[in-house]
Symmetry: C2
Subunit: 164 residues, 2 copies
DNA sequence: CTCGGTGCAAAGCTTTTGCATCCGC
DNA sequence: GCGGATGCAAAAGCTTTGCACCGAG
């Protein structure tokens, strides 16, 4: 068996990427007959300028400083739309640890959370797909997505330099 | 490769099992120099008389009717202890969907959640252990436990008879 | 012009906390 | 009797909701 677990490197933001997701989002909004408001695009742009995971509060804080401020309600509403059209994925790492991340152009990956310092490390292992396929066949469900979280304690040197 | 995913059948409650976990809990409390209060044993007994998953509210509701009522604070406190000594496991299925289940005598298993009806199906696939081992080696973490949740839509007939 | 979307603040829900009382040791 | 544990209610933290106003189509 090919061992193929590796660290996931989060894509750096770039303008071309934002153009691409903007088109996807526009198509989604038109398809659902939703309005193309400036707030929605502001939020999308902000998310795609961030790297790594973020939570609602930090996104809201970033947006407050912009020309067009938005309210929390709008942030939550828009995040739901972005999750629905697969431009953003949501991870519930714990009761009060909901994290989002942009998902366009990102490789499928899972997360390891250090129980000592709450840092999150991304990794990718294609074998998870096998499990998913088997369950799908045996239990007769359509598996749409999954969440695999490994909880681990660091040997310190792994942890210090990473943000959640 | 041996296909070995299968449904997990929750153990039915039985008095002998409660005696066993009671001894474990007692040893744990003594070891940690914590008090053996009647509330703690009442909660443990109630949990081991339940089948399947439960949330704090439903456990609290069950306990309210007993001879010795308990408060929510005590339920939360005791659940933390039981999770710590591995007699109960906690699953965060969503922001407001924390579920617990007794874990003594249960096989390691994971969960599939139906996004149509919120039902939870348990399954077991030993291949998850391989992934865990590989990550452990490559990322140099001690993986203590994991959470694998598959999100799926049912083909209806699978879902109707199951409770969350 | 219409009605969906937004902003604000209030409400909701689960979980935690503070404090007086209780009881295991 | 001492100090940890409990019970109650208030507080906290994240998310949703209600309502008046705004603006995209």
């Amino acid at each position: 068996m090919i061992i193929c677990v590796y660290l996931q490197f989060t894509m750096t933001s770039n303008p071309k990427q934002y153009e691409a997701v903007k088109h996807i989002f526009t198509a989604y909004l038109e398809n659902k007959k939703l309005r193309k408001t400036s707030e929605r695009y502001t939020i999308l742009e902000e998310i795609y300028s961030l790297t790594g995971h973020f939570d609602v509060e930090s996104l809201y804080a970033h947006l407050k400083g912009k020309k067009y401020g938005v309210s929390r309600a709008t942030v939550y509403n828009t995040l739901d739309l972005l999750v629905d059209c697969d431009l953003v994925s949501k991870h519930q790492f714990g009761k009060n640890l909901a994290q989002y991340e942009k998902s366009y152009g990102s490789r499928q990956h899972d997360h390891l959370i250090c129980t000592d310092c709450n840092n999150v490390v991304e990794f990718c292992d294609p074998r998870i797909q096998n499990i998913q396929n088997t369950v799908e066949d045996l239990l007769r469900f359509n598996v749409t997505h999954h969440s695999l979280i490994l909880y681990a304690s660091c040997k310190k040197e792994n942890c210090e330099n990473k943000r959640i």
